[in-house]
């Protein structure tokens, strides 16, 4: 049986241990070798800082709440339906929508790394990438949900989705009461990032 030969090559240890200096060192070397373009780095940062984020997912949820044909299409072919809205790309190549109901509460995790639907929700928050969330969400989802202030009834079944392949999950939370006749834009304002991961509910209609 061959053994993984990369086990003993930890070249990173020659770099500065301070992480900011470590990144800077790598960036400097790659630039000097002509292997990265600093303007491209700025463009990547701008994309994830300003253009891609949970507002994208919120638009999908709000439309699913208000347009039944869209909702049907979303659950029959999520990837195509959200791509038609312009949401496709890195870490969102295969998307699956999960519907929360009174009886089923879906929550998403990636225990092995931190897989997350980037085109719909942006870059994951620190807690999603934390050891505590990755370790505990599969074993004690109800305790984890309680830490987010989410209390479920005992007859609500929890489904924890561990993103072990390249399928990325978007939770479609239940539409808040008292929002009849609201526009998609108004509805999207109620959709929180956590409600699309399953660790929260949408805001109440005020």
């Amino acid at each position: 049986m061959p053994h993984d030969s990369n086990d003993h090559t930890h070249a990173h240890s020659v770099l500065p241990s301070d992480p900011a200096l470590r990144v800077n060192a790598l960036e400097t070397l790659l630039m000097r070798k002509g292997l990265i373009d600093l303007n491209a780095l700025d463009a990547i940062i701008d994309t994830y800082q300003n253009k891609i984020g949970p507002q994208n997912g919120a638009m999908v949820v709000a439309r699913a709440w208000s347009d039944s044909a869209f909702c049907n299409s979303l659950f029959s072919d999520t990837t195509k339906t959200v791509a038609d809205l312009g949401f496709y790309g890195r870490q969102g190549e295969h998307i699956v929508a999960l519907q929360n109901t009174d009886k089923i509460h879906n929550i998403v995790v990636c225990t092995l790394c931190s897989c997350y639907p980037w085109p719909l929700l942006g870059i994951p928050p620190t807690w999603y990438k934390s050891d505590a969330y990755r370790a505990r969400a599969v074993r004690e989802p109800r305790k984890v949900l309680a830490e987010f202030g989410v209390a479920l009834l005992n007859d609500t079944s929890v489904r924890v989705w561990d993103s072990t392949a390249e399928l990325r999950y978007l939770v479609i939370p239940q539409r808040p009461e008292g929002t009849e006749g609201w526009s998609e834009l108004q509805l999207a304002e109620l959709v929180t990032r956590d409600s699309m991961i399953g660790t929260g509910f949408p805001k109440d209609a005020q």
């Binding site: 470590r22 940062i45 092995l112 830490e147």
Partner: protein, 225 residues
């Protein structure tokens, strides 16, 4: 046996610290730089996503536990640049180096290509003639959660779901097989399924025995029951 990254179900971690949507996308400037350098380097085309995941998993357990998310990224990136021969250890030390080969430099991601590059993504669905062995509703048992061809190799079958009985609840066509793709063995696509496991089959003390944990698993991770 698995590696340090495979932490699903582990005991001893403290509470999760929610941010309720208030955290900045990049908490520190270097977080943004780390993400951008890593993403941009990937466009050189010298490794795939499964190799880069495996490179992070290959950090020593001490480093993996100590490093924050983006420290893992940049440290694994440095390891991968050396392993792939793009950078030498001496260059990492001196931060001086010769310009890369023309064929490599031609691949460098330019600012005007960022939007199209990021939106293109890297779909893993492949059309194959491999027979799908399982149907929705079939009971299956997972095999031992280790890479079958390479000791200590990459796998996406978590240890907590090793040798457990579940039910097929969905199928997704054939997808690139990470256990092969992370180790230069080609894409080797296989049928991919969603398998539901009852909490009571995974944990000695489930919070609620009716809760389910759903995993996306490749055909060769599964055995008929």
């Amino acid at each position: 046996m698995s590696r340090i990254h495979d932490m699903g179900g582990r005991f001893g971690d403290g509470p999760v610290m929610p941010d309720f949507g208030h955290e900045a996308v990049f908490k520190k400037k270097w977080h943004a730089r780390a993400l951008a350098v890593t993403v941009a380097s990937g466009f050189l085309g010298q490794w795939n996503l499964d190799e880069s995941r495996h490179s992070r998993e290959n950090l020593s357990p001490a480093d993996y536990s100590k490093f924050s998310y983006y420290e893992k990224w940049i440290s694994a990136l440095a390891d991968m640049l050396v392993a792939k021969g793009l950078v030498s250890v001496e260059e990492l030390q001196s931060l001086q180096g010769e310009r890369g080969s023309d064929s490599l430099c031609e691949r460098v991601l330019r600012a005007e290509k960022v939007a199209s590059g990021l939106s293109k993504g890297g779909p893993t669905l492949r059309y194959t003639s491999i027979t799908q062995l399982y149907m929705t509703g079939d009971p299956v048992k997972t095999r031992l959660a280790e890479n079958r061809s390479l000791s200590g190799g990459h796998t996406r079958l978590p240890n907590y779901a090793s040798q457990k009985v579940g039910t097929i609840v969905g199928s997704h066509g054939s997808h690139i097989f990470p256990d092969a793709h992370a180790h230069g063995a080609g894409e080797a696509p296989e049928p991919l399924y969603t398998v539901a496991f009852k909490a009571s089959t995974l944990w000695e003390h489930p919070e609620n025995p009716c809760d389910l944990v759903m995993l996306d698993l490749w055909q060769s991770y599964l055995e008929p029951l």
